[in-house]
Amino acid sequence: MEQIISPIALYLICALGAGGIALALPRRSGSKAFEYGGGLLVAVALGGAALALGLKASDAGNPMPNLFFYPFALIGIGASVRMITHKRPVYSALYFIMTIIASCGMYILLSAEFMAFALIIIYAGAILITYLFVIMLATQAPTGDGDDDLDDVDAVAREPMLASAIGFVLIGLITAAMFGGIGELPEPKMTQAQAADSVLAHLPKKVDKILDREGLLEDGWRVSRDHETGLAMIDVDARTIQIELVEGDSVSATRTLGAQDWPEALAADNIDRLGFNLMNDHPVMIELAGIILLMAMLGATVLARKHTELEEALKAAQARKLGTMFHDDEPQATGGQA
């Protein structure tokens, strides 16, 4: 942990943040000054964290994160603080969308492009809209703009001091534990080039397409496939590709493209690797996810259903009405009844 951040700085940052959030949490008697003061304390804590981490890294000559990381982190944490301190639920939900978008920015910096966009579509687009619907459905419109009109549910926090203290003791523990173990992380199992292209052999059609686009394949040629596994015959380390000429069902000629012909566009991108990982390594998880979603849909439908008690007479009247409608529309089908 010493090489990442000095423990005293970390605990100081945690104490500042805890004080800030405890001040900013909603309370009945507090004025706006409490909120601004709390926000200021949290901002100072964040700046201190960035400074402490950056100073340690630059002292040791270690690389720093991309410059764009800092605004995204600031927006992410700031919006999540605002989300738990805002008195009006709709604003809380909107601040949460802001947190999501900021963490999408961090995903892109971590080269997880697909997940970043999926997160915006699923979280900000679907889940949060459902939340907004329920908030608007279940919350009575406040009578005025002032905070005095708000219900106690939203205007008063429960045990702000205690909860902030617990939360920031937890931050201190989590970060201390993670930074303590960070030096012992194992090296990546594959080198960079192997990790990048190990998926390519599994995608012969994609390799065909890219080679064709680069003009390396004449008519009838394609990448050789292994007879048993169907893998493309690509040697990632030596950068060679074996191609073959197919006539009818048989292979009439084979040739090897050397490393000098390896096209620059031939690389597995984020979606290729993610999709391959998902389908190849976690097939059962997909089935389980499907079951979870189906059960949640059924459960939500059953839970939120409105139980209406109908009188027996009303039921009978409705049934009769339905019967006559049926009778009028399709005389053949229900001819025997009535």
Binding site: I4, A49, A50, L53, N62, P63, M64, P65, F69, A73, G76, I77, M83, I84, S92, F96, T99, S103, Y107, L110, A112, M115, I122, A126, I127, T130, Y131, V134, A138, T139, D152, V153, R158, E159, P160, S164, G167, L170, I171, I174, T175, F179, P186, P188, M190, A193, A195, A265, D269, N270, L274, N277, D281, M285, A289, I292, L293, A296, G299, A304
Partner: protein, 111 residues
């Protein structure tokens, strides 16, 4: 079309700030869950904690140059969606009974 370069190895001094953000977001979600009385906000705070876990997963996956972290985030998303559907149905149900979103309206569940 320019291809995105495959990520290079990431130093642990770059990983650390992401983990700090993730821990901070998780604990802010926890504080919100403990302090707020509105049930919808409480569930929103659990979503924030999911989000923080996802960020840590992706950062560690990036460190190991593997896609497993991103795959797990897909499943985290899936569980979050299921949780949101169930939680909101529950909130609507409870609201119909007590006409209040306050968690303390259900104090007798303390046991």
């Amino acid at each position: 079309m320019a291809q995105l370069a495959f990520p290079t190895e990431m130093s642990s001094s770059v990983l650390a700030p992401y983990l700090f953000v993730s821990a901070a977001m998780f604990c802010i979600g926890l504080i919100g869950f403990l302090t707020r009385k509105n049930m919808i906000i409480m569930f929103l705070c659990t979503e924030l904690m999911f989000q923080a876990a996802g960020l840590a997963l992706i950062a560690f996956g990036r460190q190991h140059l593997e896609s497993d972290g991103q795959t797990f985030v897909i499943f985290v998303l899936c569980v979050a969606a299921a949780e949101a559907a169930m939680a909101l149905a529950l909130v609507v149900l409870l609201f119909r009974h007590r006409e209040s979103l306050s968690a303390s309206a259900w104090k007798e569940l303390n046991g």
